[in-house]
Amino acid sequence: MALKDYSDLNEYQLDALKEIGNIGSGNAATALSDMMERSVSINVPIIKVLDYETVVKNLGGPETLLVGILLSLRGDVQGMMMFLLNKEFAHNVLNALLGTDFCEMSNLDDMSQSAMLEVGNIMAASYVNAIASLTDLKIDISVPNMCFDMAGAIMSVPAIYYANISDKIILIEDEFGHMNRDMSSHILLIPEVESLQKIMESLGLGS
Protein backbone atom coordinates (compact mmCIF):
# COMPACT_ATOMS: atom_id res chain seq x y z
CA MET A 1 0.00 0.00 0.00
CA ALA A 2 1.40 3.36 -0.97
CA LEU A 3 1.65 5.98 1.70
CA LYS A 4 -0.75 8.84 1.18
CA ASP A 5 -0.64 10.63 4.46
CA TYR A 6 1.82 10.68 7.31
CA SER A 7 -0.65 8.96 9.59
CA ASP A 8 -0.56 5.89 7.28
CA LEU A 9 2.83 4.88 8.66
CA ASN A 10 2.81 1.63 10.58
CA GLU A 11 4.75 0.75 13.70
CA TYR A 12 7.70 -0.84 11.87
CA GLN A 13 7.99 2.10 9.54
CA LEU A 14 7.99 4.51 12.46
CA ASP A 15 10.71 2.45 14.11
CA ALA A 16 12.76 2.59 10.93
CA LEU A 17 12.39 6.37 10.84
CA LYS A 18 13.46 6.56 14.44
CA GLU A 19 16.59 4.63 13.58
CA ILE A 20 17.25 6.94 10.66
CA GLY A 21 16.91 9.90 13.00
CA ASN A 22 19.22 8.23 15.45
CA ILE A 23 21.97 7.57 12.95
CA GLY A 24 21.57 10.89 11.16
CA SER A 25 21.56 13.00 14.27
CA GLY A 26 24.40 11.02 15.82
CA ASN A 27 26.51 11.92 12.81
CA ALA A 28 25.38 15.53 12.90
CA ALA A 29 26.19 15.82 16.59
CA THR A 30 29.64 14.30 16.05
CA ALA A 31 30.28 16.82 13.29
CA LEU A 32 29.19 19.66 15.55
CA SER A 33 31.26 18.34 18.40
CA ASP A 34 34.34 18.16 16.14
CA MET A 35 33.81 21.74 15.04
CA MET A 36 33.33 23.02 18.55
CA GLU A 37 35.93 20.74 20.14
CA ARG A 38 33.41 20.17 22.89
CA SER A 39 31.11 17.32 23.62
CA VAL A 40 27.59 17.51 22.27
CA SER A 41 24.95 15.22 23.69
CA ILE A 42 21.87 14.09 21.93
CA ASN A 43 18.63 12.48 23.04
CA VAL A 44 16.91 9.49 21.50
CA PRO A 45 14.91 10.88 18.57
CA ILE A 46 11.19 11.25 18.65
CA ILE A 47 9.01 10.62 15.63
CA LYS A 48 5.81 12.56 15.68
CA VAL A 49 3.03 13.28 13.31
CA LEU A 50 1.78 16.57 14.64
CA ASP A 51 -0.18 19.59 13.64
CA TYR A 52 1.59 22.90 13.40
CA GLU A 53 0.30 24.37 16.65
CA THR A 54 1.45 21.39 18.71
CA VAL A 55 4.89 21.56 17.14
CA VAL A 56 5.18 25.21 18.05
CA LYS A 57 3.91 24.55 21.55
CA ASN A 58 6.57 21.87 22.01
CA LEU A 59 9.22 24.35 20.96
CA GLY A 60 8.22 26.60 23.84
CA GLY A 61 5.35 28.57 22.35
CA PRO A 62 4.94 30.76 19.26
CA GLU A 63 6.97 33.69 20.53
CA THR A 64 10.01 31.71 21.69
CA LEU A 65 13.13 33.14 20.09
CA LEU A 66 15.14 30.68 18.06
CA VAL A 67 17.85 30.60 15.47
CA GLY A 68 16.44 28.67 12.51
CA ILE A 69 18.65 27.21 9.80
CA LEU A 70 16.73 25.79 6.87
CA LEU A 71 17.94 23.54 4.06
CA SER A 72 15.91 21.83 1.43
CA LEU A 73 16.51 18.22 0.39
CA ARG A 74 16.48 17.20 -3.22
CA GLY A 75 17.24 14.13 -5.27
CA ASP A 76 15.61 10.85 -4.27
CA VAL A 77 14.42 12.34 -1.00
CA GLN A 78 12.60 15.66 -1.09
CA GLY A 79 11.78 17.68 1.93
CA MET A 80 13.29 19.99 4.45
CA MET A 81 15.77 19.91 7.18
CA MET A 82 15.68 22.50 9.89
CA PHE A 83 17.98 23.23 12.79
CA LEU A 84 16.48 25.17 15.63
CA LEU A 85 18.96 26.45 18.17
CA ASN A 86 18.11 28.35 21.27
CA LYS A 87 19.94 31.59 21.85
CA GLU A 88 22.33 30.29 24.48
CA PHE A 89 23.36 27.28 22.46
CA ALA A 90 23.86 29.34 19.29
CA HIS A 91 25.94 31.69 21.36
CA ASN A 92 28.06 28.79 22.65
CA VAL A 93 28.57 27.47 19.14
CA LEU A 94 29.78 30.84 17.85
CA ASN A 95 31.91 31.31 20.88
CA ALA A 96 33.61 27.96 20.34
CA LEU A 97 34.12 28.54 16.63
CA LEU A 98 35.19 32.15 16.52
CA GLY A 99 36.38 32.84 20.02
CA THR A 100 34.20 35.93 20.18
CA ASP A 101 32.60 36.43 23.50
CA PHE A 102 29.61 38.56 22.74
CA CYS A 103 27.18 38.36 19.92
CA GLU A 104 23.80 39.92 19.47
CA MET A 105 21.76 37.30 17.64
CA SER A 106 19.46 39.81 16.00
CA ASN A 107 22.38 41.64 14.49
CA LEU A 108 25.06 39.11 13.59
CA ASP A 109 28.10 40.29 11.68
CA ASP A 110 28.95 38.58 8.38
CA MET A 111 31.58 36.36 9.94
CA SER A 112 29.25 35.01 12.64
CA GLN A 113 26.44 34.58 10.16
CA SER A 114 28.50 32.54 7.75
CA ALA A 115 29.91 30.50 10.63
CA MET A 116 26.36 29.73 11.76
CA LEU A 117 25.35 28.76 8.22
CA GLU A 118 28.40 26.57 7.87
CA VAL A 119 27.44 24.75 11.06
CA GLY A 120 24.03 24.06 9.51
CA ASN A 121 25.66 22.94 6.30
CA ILE A 122 28.09 20.51 7.90
CA MET A 123 25.51 19.08 10.30
CA ALA A 124 22.98 18.60 7.52
CA ALA A 125 25.54 16.99 5.25
CA SER A 126 26.57 14.54 7.98
CA TYR A 127 22.96 13.72 8.74
CA VAL A 128 21.99 13.23 5.13
CA ASN A 129 25.10 11.20 4.25
CA ALA A 130 24.23 8.77 6.99
CA ILE A 131 20.70 8.30 5.63
CA ALA A 132 21.96 8.09 2.04
CA SER A 133 24.40 5.30 2.79
CA LEU A 134 21.81 3.45 4.85
CA THR A 135 19.14 3.57 2.17
CA ASP A 136 21.25 3.72 -0.99
CA LEU A 137 19.33 6.79 -2.06
CA LYS A 138 20.83 9.93 -3.53
CA ILE A 139 20.08 13.03 -1.48
CA ASP A 140 21.32 16.55 -2.17
CA ILE A 141 21.08 19.46 0.20
CA SER A 142 20.58 23.08 -0.74
CA VAL A 143 22.53 26.08 0.47
CA PRO A 144 21.44 26.87 4.03
CA ASN A 145 19.43 29.88 5.05
CA MET A 146 19.02 31.29 8.51
CA CYS A 147 16.93 33.61 10.58
CA PHE A 148 16.54 34.60 14.22
CA ASP A 149 12.90 35.02 15.02
CA MET A 150 9.81 33.70 16.75
CA ALA A 151 9.33 29.90 16.66
CA GLY A 152 5.84 30.30 15.22
CA ALA A 153 7.04 32.44 12.34
CA ILE A 154 9.92 30.05 11.58
CA MET A 155 7.70 26.96 11.67
CA SER A 156 5.12 28.59 9.41
CA VAL A 157 7.57 27.98 6.57
CA PRO A 158 7.35 24.16 6.65
CA ALA A 159 3.67 24.42 7.62
CA ILE A 160 2.91 26.34 4.43
CA TYR A 161 5.11 24.07 2.36
CA TYR A 162 3.27 20.96 3.53
CA ALA A 163 -0.19 22.50 3.61
CA ASN A 164 -1.03 20.89 0.25
CA ILE A 165 -0.41 17.41 1.65
CA SER A 166 -1.78 17.50 5.12
CA ASP A 167 -2.54 19.71 8.10
CA LYS A 168 -0.06 17.66 10.01
CA ILE A 169 3.67 17.41 9.53
CA ILE A 170 5.94 14.52 10.34
CA LEU A 171 8.91 15.36 12.43
CA ILE A 172 11.94 13.30 13.04
CA GLU A 173 13.08 15.35 15.92
CA ASP A 174 16.30 15.17 17.86
CA GLU A 175 17.10 17.28 20.82
CA PHE A 176 20.71 18.13 21.33
CA GLY A 177 22.80 20.34 23.52
CA HIS A 178 25.99 20.76 25.37
CA MET A 179 26.84 18.32 28.16
CA ASN A 180 23.23 17.51 28.91
CA ARG A 181 22.51 21.14 29.61
CA ASP A 182 20.14 23.29 27.60
CA MET A 183 18.94 20.36 25.51
CA SER A 184 16.46 22.53 23.77
CA SER A 185 17.97 22.71 20.34
CA HIS A 186 16.38 20.58 17.67
CA ILE A 187 17.05 18.96 14.35
CA LEU A 188 13.90 18.46 12.34
CA LEU A 189 13.80 16.28 9.27
CA ILE A 190 10.59 16.76 7.34
CA PRO A 191 10.36 14.41 4.35
CA GLU A 192 7.63 14.53 1.74
CA VAL A 193 5.18 11.64 1.64
CA GLU A 194 6.49 10.24 -1.67
CA SER A 195 10.01 10.36 -0.30
CA LEU A 196 8.94 8.48 2.81
CA GLN A 197 7.61 5.79 0.52
CA LYS A 198 10.99 5.62 -1.23
CA ILE A 199 12.87 5.42 2.03
CA MET A 200 10.60 2.61 3.20
CA GLU A 201 10.99 0.68 -0.04
CA SER A 202 14.76 0.96 0.07
CA LEU A 203 14.66 -0.50 3.57
CA GLY A 204 12.36 -3.32 2.51
CA LEU A 205 9.43 -1.90 4.46
CA GLY A 206 7.44 -0.71 1.46
CA SER A 207 4.25 -2.53 2.20
Partner: protein, 162 residues
Protein backbone atom coordinates in the same frame (compact mmCIF):
# COMPACT_ATOMS: atom_id res chain seq x y z
CA UNK B 1 -12.00 43.90 31.98
CA UNK B 2 -11.26 43.08 28.40
CA UNK B 3 -10.60 39.51 27.38
CA UNK B 4 -7.91 38.34 25.03
CA UNK B 5 -9.06 36.02 22.29
CA UNK B 6 -6.33 34.01 20.60
CA UNK B 7 -6.65 33.33 16.88
CA UNK B 8 -4.62 30.32 15.71
CA UNK B 9 -3.15 29.62 12.30
CA UNK B 10 -5.84 29.07 9.61
CA UNK B 11 -8.37 30.41 12.05
CA UNK B 12 -10.61 33.47 12.41
CA UNK B 13 -12.50 35.03 15.31
CA UNK B 14 -14.53 38.10 16.14
CA UNK B 15 -14.55 40.31 19.24
CA UNK B 16 -16.59 43.15 20.70
CA UNK B 17 -17.12 45.07 23.95
CA UNK B 18 -13.45 46.00 24.20
CA UNK B 19 -12.11 42.46 23.86
CA UNK B 20 -8.76 42.02 22.16
CA UNK B 21 -7.95 39.64 19.34
CA UNK B 22 -4.40 38.35 19.09
CA UNK B 23 -2.55 36.10 16.69
CA UNK B 24 1.03 35.07 17.43
CA UNK B 25 4.09 34.94 15.25
CA UNK B 26 2.87 35.58 11.73
CA UNK B 27 5.64 34.58 9.35
CA UNK B 28 4.65 34.36 5.70
CA UNK B 29 1.04 34.15 6.84
CA UNK B 30 -1.11 37.29 6.80
CA UNK B 31 -3.33 38.64 9.56
CA UNK B 32 -6.39 40.54 8.38
CA UNK B 33 -8.08 42.85 10.89
CA UNK B 34 -11.57 44.09 10.01
CA UNK B 35 -13.39 46.73 12.03
CA UNK B 36 -16.78 48.37 12.04
CA UNK B 37 -16.33 51.55 14.11
CA UNK B 38 -20.06 52.05 14.73
CA UNK B 39 -20.98 48.65 16.16
CA UNK B 40 -17.40 48.30 17.49
CA UNK B 41 -17.16 44.77 16.18
CA UNK B 42 -13.68 43.54 15.27
CA UNK B 43 -12.57 40.47 13.36
CA UNK B 44 -9.19 38.84 12.81
CA UNK B 45 -8.32 36.18 10.27
CA UNK B 46 -4.94 34.40 10.04
CA UNK B 47 -4.49 32.97 6.55
CA UNK B 48 -1.70 30.71 5.36
CA UNK B 49 -2.07 30.49 1.59
CA UNK B 50 -3.36 32.68 -1.24
CA UNK B 51 -6.01 30.57 -2.92
CA UNK B 52 -8.05 27.44 -2.42
CA UNK B 53 -8.13 26.90 -6.18
CA UNK B 54 -4.53 25.60 -6.07
CA UNK B 55 -5.84 22.54 -4.24
CA UNK B 56 -7.83 19.68 -5.63
CA UNK B 57 -8.88 18.39 -2.23
CA UNK B 58 -12.18 20.17 -1.69
CA UNK B 59 -12.52 19.47 2.02
CA UNK B 60 -9.65 21.80 2.86
CA UNK B 61 -10.15 24.17 5.76
CA UNK B 62 -11.59 27.31 4.16
CA UNK B 63 -10.19 29.51 6.93
CA UNK B 64 -6.72 28.74 5.57
CA UNK B 65 -6.98 30.68 2.32
CA UNK B 66 -7.11 34.41 1.57
CA UNK B 67 -9.81 33.99 -1.06
CA UNK B 68 -12.19 32.06 1.19
CA UNK B 69 -11.40 33.11 4.78
CA UNK B 70 -12.08 36.85 4.57
CA UNK B 71 -15.61 36.33 3.29
CA UNK B 72 -16.36 33.98 6.19
CA UNK B 73 -15.05 36.59 8.60
CA UNK B 74 -17.23 39.29 7.04
CA UNK B 75 -20.31 37.05 7.34
CA UNK B 76 -19.51 36.27 10.97
CA UNK B 77 -19.17 39.96 11.78
CA UNK B 78 -22.40 40.73 9.93
CA UNK B 79 -24.35 38.17 11.89
CA UNK B 80 -23.02 39.78 15.08
CA UNK B 81 -24.41 43.13 13.89
CA UNK B 82 -21.61 44.75 11.90
CA UNK B 83 -22.25 46.45 8.56
CA UNK B 84 -20.02 45.57 5.63
CA UNK B 85 -20.17 49.08 4.16
CA UNK B 86 -18.59 50.47 7.33
CA UNK B 87 -15.79 47.94 7.56
CA UNK B 88 -12.16 48.98 7.32
CA UNK B 89 -9.20 46.62 7.01
CA UNK B 90 -5.71 46.63 8.51
CA UNK B 91 -3.31 43.93 7.43
CA UNK B 92 0.06 42.65 8.65
CA UNK B 93 2.44 39.78 7.92
CA UNK B 94 3.48 38.21 4.62
CA UNK B 95 7.17 38.21 5.44
CA UNK B 96 9.79 36.13 3.74
CA UNK B 97 11.42 34.39 6.68
CA UNK B 98 14.33 32.83 4.81
CA UNK B 99 15.98 35.04 2.24
CA UNK B 100 16.60 32.71 -0.66
CA UNK B 101 14.68 29.50 -0.42
CA UNK B 102 15.38 28.01 -3.81
CA UNK B 103 12.11 26.17 -3.95
CA UNK B 104 9.55 27.52 -6.35
CA UNK B 105 6.38 26.70 -4.44
CA UNK B 106 7.78 28.47 -1.41
CA UNK B 107 9.32 31.44 -3.16
CA UNK B 108 7.59 34.72 -2.38
CA UNK B 109 4.70 32.99 -0.62
CA UNK B 110 4.44 35.95 1.77
CA UNK B 111 4.17 38.39 -1.09
CA UNK B 112 1.62 36.19 -2.87
CA UNK B 113 -0.43 36.01 0.30
CA UNK B 114 -0.47 39.80 0.63
CA UNK B 115 -1.49 40.22 -3.02
CA UNK B 116 -4.30 37.70 -2.63
CA UNK B 117 -5.57 39.43 0.52
CA UNK B 118 -5.60 42.80 -1.23
CA UNK B 119 -7.46 41.37 -4.22
CA UNK B 120 -10.06 39.77 -1.99
CA UNK B 121 -10.59 42.95 0.03
CA UNK B 122 -10.97 44.88 -3.22
CA UNK B 123 -13.56 42.38 -4.41
CA UNK B 124 -15.46 42.73 -1.13
CA UNK B 125 -15.07 46.55 -1.38
CA UNK B 126 -13.43 46.87 2.03
CA UNK B 127 -10.77 49.62 2.04
CA UNK B 128 -7.32 48.95 3.54
CA UNK B 129 -6.48 51.79 5.92
CA UNK B 130 -3.20 50.44 7.34
CA UNK B 131 -0.65 47.89 6.29
CA UNK B 132 2.58 46.42 7.67
CA UNK B 133 3.59 43.65 5.31
CA UNK B 134 6.58 42.04 3.64
CA UNK B 135 10.16 42.29 4.85
CA UNK B 136 11.82 39.39 6.63
CA UNK B 137 10.65 39.11 10.21
CA UNK B 138 7.85 37.57 12.23
CA UNK B 139 5.05 39.64 13.74
CA UNK B 140 2.57 39.19 16.55
CA UNK B 141 -0.63 41.12 15.87
CA UNK B 142 -3.22 42.25 18.38
CA UNK B 143 -6.37 44.13 17.51
CA UNK B 144 -8.68 45.79 19.99
CA UNK B 145 -12.39 46.09 19.43
CA UNK B 146 -12.65 49.36 21.38
CA UNK B 147 -10.91 51.55 18.85
CA UNK B 148 -9.90 49.20 16.06
CA UNK B 149 -6.19 49.72 16.68
CA UNK B 150 -3.82 47.08 15.36
CA UNK B 151 -0.62 46.57 17.36
CA UNK B 152 2.28 44.84 15.66
CA UNK B 153 5.10 43.42 17.73
CA UNK B 154 8.35 42.09 16.31
CA UNK B 155 11.46 40.62 17.87
CA UNK B 156 14.19 42.78 16.49
CA UNK B 157 12.51 45.67 14.80
CA UNK B 158 10.30 47.17 17.46
CA UNK B 159 6.56 47.60 18.00
CA UNK B 160 4.03 49.71 16.16
CA UNK B 161 0.42 50.77 16.47
CA UNK B 162 -1.76 51.25 13.39
Amino acid sequence: MSNTIVVGISDLKIAQKGDILVTYALGSCVGICLYDPVSKIAGLSHIMLPTISDFSNSNMVREKFADTAIEILVQKMQSAGAMKARMRAKIAGGAQMFSNVSNLSLACIGERNVTAVKQELLRLRIPIVAEDTGKNYGRTVSFNSDEGIMNVKSVNKGDWAF
